[in-house]
Structures are given as structure tokens and as C-alpha cells.
Subunit: 479 residues, 3 copies
Amino acid sequence: MRKLALNPDRLFSSDPTQRAIARELYGSIADLPIISPHGHTDPLWFADNHNWTNATELFLAPDHYVYRMLYSQGIALDDLAIPHRQGVPATDPRKAWNLFAANYHLFRGTPSRLWLDHVFASVFGIEVALEAASADLYFDTINEALATEAFRPRALFDRFKIDFLATTEGPQDDLSAHHRIHQSGWKGRVVTTYRPDAVIDVEHEKFAKSMARFADLTGEDVWSWKGYLAAHRKRRADFRAAGATATDHGHPTALTANLSPAEAEALFAKVTKGDWTPADAELFRAQMLTEMAGMSAEDGMVMQIHPGACRNHNDGLFHSHGRDKGADIPTRTDYVHALKPLLDRHGNNPDLSIILFTLDESVYARELAPLAGHYPCLKLGPAWWFHDSPEGMRRFRETTTETAGFYNTVGFNDDTRAFLSIPSRHDVARRVDCAFLARLVAEHRLEDWEAAELAHDMTNGLVKQAYRIEEPLSDSKAA
Amino acid sequence: MRKLALNPDRLFSSDPTQRAIARELYGSIADLPIISPHGHTDPLWFADNHNWTNATELFLAPDHYVYRMLYSQGIALDDLAIPHRQGVPATDPRKAWNLFAANYHLFRGTPSRLWLDHVFASVFGIEVALEAASADLYFDTINEALATEAFRPRALFDRFKIDFLATTEGPQDDLSAHHRIHQSGWKGRVVTTYRPDAVIDVEHEKFAKSMARFADLTGEDVWSWKGYLAAHRKRRADFRAAGATATDHGHPTALTANLSPAEAEALFAKVTKGDWTPADAELFRAQMLTEMAGMSAEDGMVMQIHPGACRNHNDGLFHSHGRDKGADIPTRTDYVHALKPLLDRHGNNPDLSIILFTLDESVYARELAPLAGHYPCLKLGPAWWFHDSPEGMRRFRETTTETAGFYNTVGFNDDTRAFLSIPSRHDVARRVDCAFLARLVAEHRLEDWEAAELAHDMTNGLVKQAYRIEEPLSDSKAA
Amino acid sequence: MRKLALNPDRLFSSDPTQRAIARELYGSIADLPIISPHGHTDPLWFADNHNWTNATELFLAPDHYVYRMLYSQGIALDDLAIPHRQGVPATDPRKAWNLFAANYHLFRGTPSRLWLDHVFASVFGIEVALEAASADLYFDTINEALATEAFRPRALFDRFKIDFLATTEGPQDDLSAHHRIHQSGWKGRVVTTYRPDAVIDVEHEKFAKSMARFADLTGEDVWSWKGYLAAHRKRRADFRAAGATATDHGHPTALTANLSPAEAEALFAKVTKGDWTPADAELFRAQMLTEMAGMSAEDGMVMQIHPGACRNHNDGLFHSHGRDKGADIPTRTDYVHALKPLLDRHGNNPDLSIILFTLDESVYARELAPLAGHYPCLKLGPAWWFHDSPEGMRRFRETTTETAGFYNTVGFNDDTRAFLSIPSRHDVARRVDCAFLARLVAEHRLEDWEAAELAHDMTNGLVKQAYRIEEPLSDSKAA
């Protein structure tokens, strides 16, 4: 069997000058705690603190990065034990794992490969590479570890040195998992994030159901415009009480609107009656971004906008397997015109903070960096989803820094459902950032002491500041 | 006169670590045979096996990469002996060659320069650089060589170690050149490719003429929808009999449609009556991509889609010189929405294989890699046309690999009319791929043995598999 | 206090092979004179030759690159002494400077930082870094210097070795500053550029006022189509008499039109009556680009097109502070379809020369390089505005050279209002170009002697040729 070993210089340039600088920068921040301000882990894990059962359930079933690649090469999702609309297929988890292992070469050159190898080596201590020949060894080793006390969610949370972890819930969620975490006495800081898409997107198949739950949880008449806005305010307060410092908005586009109160009320009446065109649905989502920005300016919650995914592109797979099955495809996304209505209303409000994400890299230099390099309320979220990768992060820095600088960015988001991969994802981000800084220093575009400050700020300072988690930036920049 | 010498390390990084790795990888694949699954060489060359006559006819007249650059600097096409609509201008070929030589500096930094120098040095053994002072020497040396037995098409085919060469013909072609090649007893594997644009694009000025020929060759009533589809099936069978494993589709956009049979028939009736708008013509092309995908799923021919060129952009030049004169300009191209109708109908069909190309690099990371990294029927063709260049190929790998991996790509296409440049084009691609792999190895993102496997697969394995030329991938990935 | 020292190898690769080549190339062109064919310095500076008063007035007030970044971090423009619509705020310039100094870390990684440090070190001889602790030292040092004879505009012009400097004026400008410069006997070559936007953009709030002035200065009936065109011809002649060799056009898009004379006249009548829609205004701008191209073919003035900025995006700031306050945001820009009408009319005219710029980098490889690599009348302007930066210039070369070559580009434009930064901007461009050439040489894609020629041409030869300032390219390319 082939060896598995993580090279300590991985992801640094092979140029000796740059590598030496990167190594030193990385050394100074490698052990900083993890701040994870945006992600999709399940709060029940930390509320219940149950053991996970096996490698397949943990690594394959929740990770669409992994099974989309296998699917693209003609492997059936059933053979990987991926749940479909009728439930989990009766596939032997070991067989599924073996199929994955035999096809592990497909991940060469991908971030999944980097993350997985890091987890295998550093979390489970495995010393051979994953391939057909080592599949059973992996399956047994991982499953044995998972059964132990040391591999329960809370133990790993502590082992991973996570200082802050945000999950994402909707207005229809009662936050009971979060309440149980907070009442348990455990010290881990796990908070929620307010993501109201389910009660904003009238095109979602469960819109009516989510609205009913929204009404139940708030006691408001959510089918009236006033009651609907009041319900948002109530739930935002509930989420803040459960530790939330941010909201999140995953719309198909970045479109915003700036309707008058009367127009907004009329539009709400129309779309909630079910009497809408796709253009009405889009306009309502657009107006709601502006409404949410207004509430953020009031209550201080940082607003995240994640637009640009064409969801459920594979029609057949959507019918058989449902949402979030690796079939979301990015689309060209405009920000300059789309955000203007919101910015016309709130763009110079010092209390508002909006973090922008994109799946369309062509906007980094052209639109996002110029916007964030001007508007006080706009910051740039890190390279997202398909671009959360070494090359993607490098392009992000290369195309945004010269116009937006470093201080209009917000550190790293792991954005993951794969809890065990959190340290590996942060490690990749830290290494890529240090490699980028090292190039600037080696090319005499930045002093070494500045790079050291920046490495620290990009790892912890900026994320705490941007997500209002409270901690000053590195000393030299204190007022 | 300046010297001409090909440096053995050309196109590798100057970083010593990366260069050493690249050199070793390249050494392991440099002598592999050439598989050329998509191109535009003339099958008559191999059927007739006549000598070419002179350097101007061979290097200037067919190579729009070359004369477009000269034209851009104010040099008249007549002075370069480029054919116009009335025929070949009465320009002395030696004078044309001298003009080219005196302006060879214009090609600095371009792939044409790399390809041409490679041909001059390695095919003709020339040891001085092309410039005004060496123009006559070049013209004489090349012409003398071309008159010899060793420089006839079949001899060069063998010398170039070409294992497989696909040309491109339309449904209106009787394939007689291919039949003569196959009947000649010569062992060279030259096959055709089915490119039906001429009978699909009702906006083409020769549509009616092509349809008449289509009817003649098939005996079908091609002006009825059923007969038209039957004629396609017949000709696809003819092409397969002449060795074709693939079809090719060069539409202005990637638009597809998913009309009902009745709608498709009505649209066909409309456009074939000449009673169409540009939107009708576009919709018919769109529907025909979906029809062709259906036939590919039936007969196993791999489907290539090459969209996004705005053809004949220079109106004056089109009137004086006609098509394919270096005046085609790429345009922004959407794939996510455009391909959905076809994918809704055939996207999960395990028998279908579609290779996508683009002239719009902004879609690599945003659209094409996510599509190919999910749909089993989609693969990514290599960097195409203007992007078939060292920087273009590097960007292709950097922006697609992390999401689509290497195994959803299909190796290299030379796509050329310039037969003598085929080895040089493959050499550039192999070097750039090895340089890319070397960086990943040097940055500890890939093991050296993996890079060695990949180098082999990217050169031969993936192309044979993707174009169904039959040969397994490198051992470790055999099921 | 931290030291400030410019490293002689800044902006070169840290790879020793590349660095050595870059250093030698740079050494051969570092002392060449500055040709600045496009910019926005104030001709009054050179006409009056008055001393500047203080650092704040010189570095902050005119430089939207600088204050937009400070504004993006919540710093009020009033506190930086930036003029608003009612005048200059009563802010103590020293206080404003101190605020800037305390926030200088925001510019890490930006070109402003490179330019400013270069000015501080090489123009003022300052040896400590700018930060809160050194703010007063800077303010005093700079102000003292500015009061001296050696820091008057003309003295600096000579010290900077500027051979040619173009400013930009509109048709409503009487060019009196330029006339005074020329009549003064001073040898500095400062010329104007014809930028007629103010009398072409009917959406501009001062259109009527500019037209009135246009009429006054020409004596033409500018409200008739014939008189309007005649007025343009007269003013173009005036500008040529004041040394202009070029025109400039800053439209929202690159759209051109090719209307018949009667259609153009009717459109003119409509838009000048004030009876227009935004589409009419856009069509008129489009038609005027084609008219201007026609005049350029007549009178030999080189035409520059700078499209793609969404001006005054921040509505609140526009109302409080007016235009050009750092709130212009680039937008996606089409060239292929937009330029076709103009090119249909004038594209093959050997007397016409158009230099294209963009704020949308996605068009470099896809549209601009293919267009410039074909049409004799088209050349590519350098990386512009937000992309006038080390990474921006590198991307420009990497994405245009392979298709357009070097000889369809036009050297560097500093495009600045910040006179003192001109040498630093040219220095950055020269270094980045040398670094790019050094990579090509180190990777054996270009010979060293070719790179040396190119370095010279990219610095002086191409810009003189493109802007018709008269000087041949380097010897080897003389016909």
C-alpha cells in the first residue's frame, strides 16, 4: 500500500525564498483557534453529543463535493448509500466505502482530496493512502475510532480548537437544539444564523408550510405585510438570543429592490395569494433583501448574501433525490446594478454591514472589489463553494486585494456540513493566504512585519470584527 | 543571422524544483504516439499522397492564426497570397514568404511562433531564426524538402507517430477521400467526423445546396421531418463505417431545446420553407443538438459541441474573401441555461457522451467544471482555438481541475488545418500539462507517482477513452 | 519609526533566474524618458507654474484611489478635507493628513501604496514609513519641499524626464492654459486631448451649458446636425493646433451605430430637443462614436474608447459631493457586437486607429485580443484604472499577448490626476512588463535579445507609434 503523509510545506510555493517566508508566517498562525462564522453543521450533533456510526455515513452521505464527482463518472448514488426521496438505499456501507476508495484517484487535484487526506492523517492517524487495497483498513479504523469517547462531537470540537461555530437555521426552526446546547453547561460556543429564505422564496415548494410554522412560532399574522415584518423582527430577536450575530440570504440572484411601503405591501399581497409570476417572486425576494438590510441596520446583525446558484439543475436527479445533491450550478451574476436599489436606501448607513459572496469569479475585480473598496457597508466574503480551493483562494486574493485591500475582507468561512473537515479547510485557507503574502513579501510589495500582522488578521482578527464576535484587530491598527 | 534552437526545457517553470519534476514527467510521455481526435486536415492529402509545392502554400494560405496577425498590422492579404473569393491572387509565393519573414517579430509571445519554430527546427532541420535575412534560405530549404519522398503526407504521418487522426466532413460529403485511404492498403488510421452544421443551420448561404446533396446521398425525403431525421441516421452510419467515432457541432451558441415531436416537426416545416426569423433558425439549431444527442445515445457516437464564435465579423473581408479568414471573434457564452433542455431529456443517459468546448474562459470555473463535475454525460474538451496556447492551457487546468478533476477532461485536440504543426501542437500541450502537474507535485498537492499516471492518461488514456478509440486508462484505474 | 526603502528588485519574481533577467531588462529601459499620452493633470499647473501648498491638498484631495479606500472603512470625506458640492470643508489639513497616516495600513497590497511610497522616498527623500507616528514629520517635510523652486510643476516635469504629457479637455474648453504653456517659451511638451463627451452625452446634467459654450467657441449652429458636425471638426482642428494627437471617449458602454445620414440627423433633432429616452441617448452616443471614427480617419487623430464605468453609483454621495468621488463601478462590457457597426463602416480603413480600453477583464482574451489581432484599425490600451496594478497588468499581458501579440498594444498610460505619481506609475509598469518578459525568456518562449527589443518598444516605441508622436520602433523592425 502507498504511504499517506502530510508534507509540512504543502501549498507553499516551491520557490525557496517564498517558501521560507510562507513557512514562517504559517508557523505564527497555525495554532490560532478556529473561528467558523458560517457553516451548515447540525446543531443536534452538539446538543446530543452522540457518536457517529460509520465512515460512509460520515464522509459520503453528507458531502456533495464527494459524491457529485463519483456520479459524474457514472457511479450510481444508490451504490454510494446516498439518501433519495424515499429514504436511504439498502446499500452495505462497507461496499459503498470500497467503491469510493477504488475511485479515489478521481479527486486528484481537487480540494476534497486535500481535506480528506488531512482528516485521514491528522484526525484518524492513518498512514496509508486511500485506494482499493486499503479500503477495509480505512473503514475499520475509522469506525473503531468513531465509537470512542474521544470522537464524539463535543470532544472533537475541543480537540479542533474551535472558538466559535455558527450553524444556519430558518425562521421555521424552534432552535431547540441550540437551546439544549446552551443549557447543557458545555462551554463550546455554537450559535445559529438567521436564514429566512424559506419564508421569502414563494417559489419554494414548502413555502406555505414554512409560513405556517413562522406564524406558530411568532404568534403574528404572517399573511399580512405588517405581521410578516413583525414576525421577522421577533425571530431575529430569538436568533440573537441564541447567539446569532448574522443573517444569511441564498437567493438565485443578487437583485434588490427599493419599493415604497405601499408597493411592497401590494407585492406581498400578490405573492402570498399564490397569484405570482416568476418575475413577481424575484421582485419580492429583491425587496426582502432591502427590508432585511433595514432590520440589520436596526438590530446590528451582519447580513450575508450568497447569490448565483442555479439550484437543482439536474431535473431527473431532483425528482429522484431532492435538493442539495450536487446538482447546483453557478451562473453569471451581476452585482453593480442588482445591489444599487438596496445601496440607494442603506448604502451609507454606518450601522449596516453586508458580506457579499459570489460563484462568478469574473466579478471579483470588476464589481465586488470596487464596490467593497468604496461602500462602508460592504465587505467581501471569502472564495465560496466551488472556489473554496487553493487556486480559487489565490485568484480571490489576486483579483480583489489591489482594489479592496485586505481590510475589506472577512477571513475564512468553511461553509461545511462535514464537521471533521473543518480543521483541514481552515488549514488550507491559512496556508494559501500565507503563500499569497509570502509572494508579496518576496517581490518586495509588502514588508515582512506587515505580512505577519496580516496573517494574524486574516486568520482571526478580521473574521471577529466582520461578524461582530468582538476582538480588536492586531495592535498596530488599534485607533 | 540569429540561431534557431529548441531548448529542451521550454515551457517548464524556471523554478529548479518544478523544472526537474516537469522534465522527468515529460520524458516519460514525450515519445507516446499522437492521438488527434479532432481536426481539419484534408483527407485528400492522405488519399492522393501528393507532394506539397511550396512554403507559402503550406504555411501561410491555410493558417488563419498567421495571416490574421499580419493583417492586423496593415499587411494586405493579397500580398500574402491568401485566396479571395475570385481565386488565388497572382502574388509571387517567394515575395509573400519574404513579407512574412520580415514581420515574424509580430508573433513573439504567441503560440504560432512556438509551433512554427518547432516545425522549422524539427521537421526541416533549419538552424537559423526566421527573419528578413533568412527568408530566402527558408523558402528554398522548405521547398526542396517538400519535393522529396520523405515529405509526402503519408511519410510525415508515419514520421510524426500519429496513431489516429480524425478529419471533419459534412453530411453533403461522399467520403470518397476516406474510402480511397481505407482501400489503399496504407496502415495510417485516418477517420472522419460527422459535422452536420451545413444541413442544420438554415442561415448558412449554402443550406439549400447542402440539403439537395443530403437528399442525393441518402435517397431520403430530407424536406420532411421524418425523412430528414432518417437521412441523418443513414449518414451517421456511413460515417461510422468510415471510422468516425464522433460528431461535431459548431453553433453560434450552446442553446438547446426540448420540443415535443409535434413542435419539432412544425418548426422544421417552417424553417425549411424559408419562412423563418433568426430566432426560429436558432431554435431549430437548438432542437437539433437535442436530436443529435438522442442519436448519439443510440449509435454511440461521441458528441462534440463547439459554440461561441461570432463568424465573419469583418463585413468587408467577408465580402472580398469569404469565410474562415481570421475574422471570427469569440463571444460571451452561456452553458448553464442553454444546455438544460438537452440535459433534461438525456442528461442521465449512461450511453451518451458529450464533449464541451468554449471560447469564453469565464465559464471554465463557473459553469463548465461544475457541469462536467456532476453530469455523467458531460466531459470538458481542451482549451480551444484562441486559448490553445501555453497560458490558455494553464488557465484551463487551473480553473477546471479543482471542480471537475482530471478525469472529466479528454486530453488534447490539435484542431488544426496545418498538418505539419501537429507534432508541435501536441508537444506544447504535453509540456504545459507536465508543467502544471509539476507545480502540484512541487507544492505537495499530488504525489509524484500520481503525476506520472496522470501525464500518461492526459496524453493518451483519456483521449482514447473519451473518443471511444479503445484502450484502458493507466493500470491503477482499471476496475 | 519603521524604515522606508525601495527595494531595487521590487515587483520582479523571486525566482533567481527570472529575477536576473528582469533586472537586466529593467536596467536597459529604467532611464528612458516618460511618454504620457493619456492623463488628467491640470494644464494650469504648467501654465501658472505655481507651488502646491500642502500634502493634503496634493495627495488626498485629487486622488479618489486614496479616499475611496478610507471611505470604505467608515472614514468621513469631510475629515479628509475632500471637497463637496458646497466647497472644501473647514478641516485642518494636518488633521486630515494624520487621519490618512493612521490608516495607511489599509493600502497594503494596493498599487496606491506602491505609488505613494515611491513618491515619498524618491521625490521627497523620506526614509521612514508613513504611519501615525511619522505623520507630522511627513506633513512638514512635504510642505517645506513644496514651497521650494525645485518642486514647482515645470521643475518636476523636467526632473521626471517627461518627454510628452497629454491632458484631457472638452470641446467647451478654450485651451487657454495650453496656449499659455506654448507661448511661455518653456520647452516641456504638454498637449491636450479632445474629449467631447460633454456635448455628446445628452444625459449629462450640464449638456445644454456645454453646447452653448460649444456654439460660442465655434460660431456654428450646434443645434443643427450639420452645424454640430462642423463644430466638432473646428474644435478638433483647434485641439490639433494645441498639440493634440488623440481623442478620447468615455461612454457607459462600447455601443456604436451605423445610421444613415438621414437617420442620424433625425436622432440628433430628437435628442437635442430634450425629447429622448435613455435608449435614444445611448443610440446617439453610439452613432457619435462612428462619426468620430470617420473624422479620425480624415484628420489622423487617434481615437481612444474608455467604456464600461457605471458612474456615480453611490446616490447619496453624488448628491452631497458630486462626480468623480470614487463611486464609479465597472460593469460587464460587450465589444464584439457593440463595435461591429463602427467596424462595418470604417474597420478596414488604413487611416483609422482606435485604442480600446476596458474595465472588464473577462473580455481581454475573449474579445479584445481577437479583435485587435485581426482589425488593422484596432489596438489595445494598457490595463486601465482598477486594473492599473501589478496583478492587473500581469493579467493583461497573460491574456492578450498570445492572440494579439505585443505589437497590437500601445505601451503604458498613467491616466492620472496625481502629477507626482507619474514616475512611480511608469516605474511599476516598466517593472511588471520586464517581469513578464523575464518569465517568457526563463521558460524559453522568447530569446533574450527579443525581450530587450520588446522592453524598449513597450516603454517608448509602441506608445510613440500608436499615439503618432513620431519615432520609429526599435531598429530590427524598421521596414
